[in-house]
Amino acid sequence: MKLRIFICLFPGVLFFCCGMRSADCGLPKSEVQDPKDRISRDAAIKLFTDANEEYLQATKFIASKKTQEADQHLKEAVLQYETILAGGFKNGQIYYNLGNTYYRQGELGKAIVNYQRAKRFMPRNADLDANLRLVKRSTEDREFTTEIPVVIRRIFFWYILLNQDELFIVAVSLYVVVMILFFFSIIRKYAWFKKATIGFSVVLFVIMISLGSKIYREQGVDRGVIIETKCEVRYGPGEEYEPKFEIHNGAECVIEDEKDDWYRVYVNVGIKQTPDSKEGAEEIVRNDVRRGWLQKKHVDVI
């Protein structure tokens, strides 16, 4: 029986490990790179507090219609938030505040990038969700991706509500419990030990699968956001290729490949296949139409 449980758990562990490997391979540069001069927590707190103060000052100037002063303070806030992040100190609050600052500057694409990064650390934050929705509504291109149905969100609540670290802690806790139960079931032959072991093993298996899936989804697949007002998606990686279509600030895409200074992307916005297509024609557009090449400087990887 114990052997069987081990065999059952094995794919979960394998999946988790694969997720981790994928995460390492496809991790955004910002997360993989280990800055040489890592910033301490105290220094990060100081910079964070200063940046917040700059932001609040800017908000006051915006309220009093003094745009120039507000812009100056916002730039300062962005600089300080970016300094903390460049120092290897990453926190959901920094990304969230940075997203707010970019939004105030009118940089919708950068705001979305930072909100999406913050979401990885703070998946349950309602303010973050509200801001992200608001910014996405302000973008020019209609988003094509569909939201996860509420029923699915309720059933797989742990997957939606917990971030990677929290899922990992849950998995480790369950692992320890399962091992203790194993240990005692070896020493003492009680029937309920066996049942509890099976139950906890199943839950552990599910959590391991969820964790692996989450790591792969968030870090194994590169996603990007357009940060320029308007950019052309071309048929090939170079200026010599004809433009295919235009997308605008804030549009999200999946990065499938890269060559020199170009990304091959799959865009998540509605596309009209022909100029005289009827309303709703984008829903039946072929997948290859959504693919194209974008200059790296136009895309910020989440």
Binding site: K2, A44, N52, F168
Partner: protein
């Protein structure tokens, strides 16, 4: 006793019947003349029935002039009493069978009957005798004459919102069985519809033939002016015709013409699917005139009246007074708007929206009903002496003009109210629902930044990449694996004796050799050699899982060879055992060096044997 009661009931029933009959007899008397067909050939016969409705105690009506016909026989007299929904009707019929004698159109003259000093006469009936013989063989009924439909309105011209009665009539000859009726109502686009009463069923005489009529009536209210079209109505049904086989008609038919003889001689039932459609109707709908339109007019068209009542006579300032304004009459009751309250000063009364209820009082001929508005008003001034006047304007299509009904103010006494702080103890759920409204978002903006430093830590270092944690994760697994292996070994030691002896053989041998060392140190040769001998023999017995008594030189030699142990070791082992036993029992222990050599030899032997047997 019970018999007496039954007789009494019967007598009572008869008395009631007669009483009703007396009532019926007092009704209008009519004389009708009907025929079974109004187009026939010279070979056919015509049944002429003179019916006196409303009385049975009359003389037979006078026989009418029957130019072109001769009387074959008659009259057959029949009396009929019908009780429908408590209404009793009586009639008496006189049926004559006539034979045509010439071709052409003939008019059967009116018949007369005298009853209680009054003379009643029937209408003349026109009958045509043609020479086209009917096809021999099976008769096919003239369906066009048997069944037809009609769609009509009570007026061809009306005002917008005026009530129009649309009537659909389905005629089928009396006695004709009709089934599977499927009615498709006309499309009345641009009209509001209200059903008028239930389906009506009655008889009607057309061209001397009695038809059963089914009538459906609908009240229509045109919603726009211009020429509006009512599309045709359709009706599908099956006629069930009893057809006789081709037999010569004889006077005996009346005798043998009942169902029993018909079935016996061959009478068949045939279903004829019939589909009828009416023509469409075009109505001219006029707009309401602008001339003379009162300012209180809100679109009511019809003939209405109004009543205004209130219960409150003496109130305080701010107390509610409920005015019950009832508008009733004929027209589209549902669309009647609230009458207007005429006030000198708008601040005199506080007005609340009126609640209305509709009651349709008559649906038979026209839509008649009543709409009651419950209007709550609150007097705000103490000088008020009466409620506001109520005014209702409508357009009367019959008169072709606007009419305004005004109800005089009703006297009230308004006292000054105490300034009370309103205490809301309970609130009706309905009122809460109506009072609440959705909040409008003024501006959409992002939420403020986060400044929570307590949870401000570096989240970039993923927990699952921490080497300490990964190391920690392996500890429980190792512990479990160790526990598993130990437990398995423990189980084997308790269950497998051979294994247990084998595992402990070396330990025991070393223990004995240690005892031998002690004996050597104490210079006890006999005990020393006993320990050495026991150490070797017991070691082999444990290793080979044999009893200690069986561990003789010969047995051991055989078993060791089977295990593949080298012969020189076996030989040396045998020699040692023999030597140790000899020295043990012969009191020739030898010197300390000899004994020490023997101990070393025994240790080497055990070590070599362990290597060979493991």
């Amino acid at each position: 006793m019970r018999k007496c009661f039954r007789l009494l009931s019967l007598w009572f029933g008869i008395m009631v019947l007669f009483a009703c009959s007396e009532k019926t007899f007092a009704q209008d008397i009519r004389l009708t003349a009907t025929v079974d067909q109004n187009i026939l050939t010279g070979n056919d016969r015509l049944e002429l029935t003179l019916t006196i409705h409303g009385a049975q105690d009359t003389q037979p009506p006078s026989f009418p002039g029957i130019e072109g016909f001769t009387l074959l026989f008659g009259p057959n007299i029949s009396a009929q009493t019908k009780i429908i929904n408590g209404d009793i009707s009586v009639s008496k019929g006189f049926t004559y069978v006539l034979q045509p004698v010439a071709k052409g159109k003939f008019t059967i003259g009116p018949s007369t009957v005298e009853y209680k000093g009054k003379v009643y006469s029937s209408q003349p009936v026109t009958v045509e005798v043609v020479d086209t013989p009917r096809a021999s063989g099976r008769q096919s009924p003239d369906l066009e004459k048997l069944v037809f439909v009609d769609l009509s309105t009570d007026k061809s011209e009306a005002y917008i919102y005026e009530q129009i009665v649309l009537s659909f009539k389905f005629y089928f000859q009396k006695g004709l069985p009709v089934g599977d009726i499927d009615y498709v109502a006309p499309v009345t686009k641009n009209f509001m519809e209200e059903k008028l009463g239930d389906q009506r069923q009655y008889e009607e005489i057309r061209d001397g033939i009695i038809y059963n009529v089914l009538e459906l009536r609908t009240a229509l209210f045109p919603m726009m002016s211009g020429e509006l079209v009512i599309s045709p109505a359709k009706l599908k049904c099956n006629l069930i015709i009893q057809q006789r086989r081709d037999r010569r008609v004889t006077p005996s038919d009346s005798l043998f013409g009942d169902a029993f003889f018909d079935d016996f001689f061959g009478r068949e039932q045939k279903r004829y699917p019939v589909e009828r459609a009416t023509g469409s109707i075009i109505l001219k709908i006029k707009s309401l005139p602008e001339e003379g339109k009162p300012k209180e007019f809100k679109g009511a068209v019809g003939t209405y009246n109004m009543e205004v009542t209130t219960k409150a006579q003496q109130v305080k300032v701010g107390d509610p007074i409920t005015l019950s304004i009832s508008v009733y009459g004929e027209g589209n009751i549902q669309t009647i708007s609230e009458p207007v309250l005429v006030m000198g000063n708008e601040n005199e009364f506080k007005l609340y929206p009126a609640e209305s209820s509709i009651q349709i009082t008559n649906r038979e001929e026209l839509i008649r009903g009543r709409k009651v508005f419950s209007k709550v008003i609150e007097p705000q001034m103490t000088y008020l002496k009466s409620t506001p006047a109520t005014v209702f304007s409508f357009f009367d299509p019959r008169a072709g003009q606007y009419k305004t009904i005004s109800k005089e103010p009703m006297p009230i006494i308004v006292e000054s109210g105490e300034q009370e702080v309103p205490i809301l103890l309970t609130t009706s759920q309905d009122k809460v629902a109506t009072a609440k409204q959705q909040v409008h978002i003024i501006t959409e903006d992002i939420s403020p930044i986060m400044v929570n430093l307590s949870s401000f830590r570096n989240q970039g270092n993923r927990v699952y990449k921490n080497p300490f944690i990964i190391t920690f994760l392996s500890i429980p697994a190792i512990l479990v694996a160790a526990a598993f292996l130990l437990n398995r070994r423990k189980l084997r030691l308790t269950s497998d004796i051979g294994y247990a002896r084998k595992r402990r053989a070396l330990v025991l041998a070393k223990k004995r050799l240690h005892e031998a060392q002690s004996a050597l140190n104490q210079n006890l040769p006999e005990e020393f050699y006993a320990c050495l001998s026991k150490a070797l023999s017991d070691y082999l017995a444990d290793k080979l899982n044999i009893s200690f008594a069986s561990a003789t030189e010969e047995n051991v030699g055989i078993l060791l060879r089977q295990r593949g142990v080298a012969d020189d070791i076996i030989k040396e082992f045998s020699n040692c055992l023999s030597d140790f036993d000899h020295r043990r029992f012969s009191n020739d222990g030898g010197s300390f060096d000899v004994m020490e050599h023997a101990l070393r030899l025994a240790k080497e032997l055990v070590t070599n044997m362990e290597k060979q047997l493991s």
